[in-house]
Symmetry: C2
Subunit: 250 residues, 2 copies
């Protein structure tokens, strides 16, 4: 963990090519604004497992996740850990106006981030309403997701928690392939059992047991450790405890 091996910087050549162009904090910017952003931006890459920022560290940049998955985690004095954010491509890291990171930020897969030096970014936000507007929209979405998550943490059973997480990942995977999640779905788990347990407020043993149980009940199939197949997405949804028709927010 935290090996500082340098790996190729695989950021896009320019904003025009960027895979998150239409969803990230820069989504509403026009060409002129993108030119300004290009001047203060740089790419950084992190290996799976590497810590991007420690809680209470100074962070001199804000950033968008371009590819890969990162997490925000809080740790208690005695070591209990709770994941409080799951950052996917296009998600934003850092808070304008804040000096230090309030959470540990970790790359769970290899990650490429599009970073902006903080000071110039803050100055640009003041002149460029498009950025603040988009950031507000994204923050409101994150707040909705956090509240959905609070319901999961406070009220769902272990089995429902696992099913909910799998449903979220399946949905996300489907949306990357631009199709509706339905019928047979197959995707790769980007999280270890431990990361899942930190996400769900469980122990890793309970996560493992519940995944085995869902497999035995035919809700999911597993190839190797990480490749999940959901033969019937609706059956998975029934296990989440959520309203079957209600829309999900992640």
């Amino acid at each position: 963990m935290n090996r500082t091996v340098s790996i190729p910087k695989t950021g896009p050549q320019s904003c025009g090519d960027c895979p998150i162009r239409h969803r990230a904090v820069c989504a509403r910017c026009d060409d002129e604004e993108l030119v300004q952003l290009e001047e203060i931006k740089f790419y950084r890459s992190y290996q799976a497992g590497q810590v991007i920022a420690w809680s209470a560290d100074r962070m001199d940049f804000v950033a968008s996740v371009v590819t890969g998955i990162a997490t925000l985690t809080q740790t208690m004095e005695d070591g209990r850990r709770q994941m409080v954010g799951l950052l996917l491509p296009s998600d934003f890291v850092g808070r304008p106006g804040r000096e230090t990171a309030p959470y540990d930020v970790t790359a769970t897969t290899d990650v490429v981030m599009c970073c902006f030096r903080k000071k110039p970014f803050e100055e640009m936000m003041l002149r460029t309403p498009h950025i603040g507007q988009r950031l507000l929209e994204m923050t409101l979405d994150e707040l909705d997701a956090a509240r959905e998550w609070m319901l999961l943490l406070g009220r769902k059973t272990a089995r429902e928690k696992i099913a909910s997480l799998l449903a979220i990942l399946a949905r996300r995977d489907a949306s990357l392939q631009l199709r509706e999640p339905e019928g047979v779905i197959s995707f790769e788990l980007p999280l270890t059992r431990e990361a899942m347990s930190e996400y769900l407020g469980l122990t890793l043993e309970t996560v493992s047991r519940q995944i085995s149980a869902l497999r035995k009940d035919g809700i999911i199939e597993i190839r190797g450790k990480r490749q999940i197949t959901v033969p019937d997405f609706d059956r998975l949804l029934e296990e989440t405890g959520d309203d079957t028709d209600g829309g999900f927010l992640v």
Copy 2:
């Protein structure tokens, strides 16, 4: 519950007198902008227990809490409930650009709200960066609070949860009286045992038992059902499981 008795509208006369003027969504507005806001605003009052908006209801306004406490709650099909937001004076309700409420909004005490008709408010946001900027700041704060709450829901014991809630309420009460929370503190519980259990992801019996336990251990004293005295705030903090020196975000 939900009695539609009309009670006196006790909103301030004008924005200049408003007790939340410096903290609400209008905090950064200048006099000219306040005049515009006055044109689209109106006050509404709700009795303790009354539902302000049901989940999936159309909401034609957004609002600031002026006095009292309101809650946001999610309900699962089988009736399990989880509070996902605690709204205090100056907090903002509603999301610009969204038609329907995603949560039940309930007044737990008598509440006065400063409401803005949604459409004109959204239009004004486009012309008035001060509003969007302040709303972004408030939303980021709420997201931080939600994440603190996720740690509580996912990882804390029942005793720690109760202590954390009491600490939050004590802090808030102290800040209303413009002093630091330390030494002997006394305040009134604005929540029933049931509301506390919905907040903390517990049953009301467990809440009651843990409050009794804290009382037996001398961490708190209770007069009647709702008046709490904390003889030593630091001892209460030790029971929360949090870093004793780390700052809290609510």
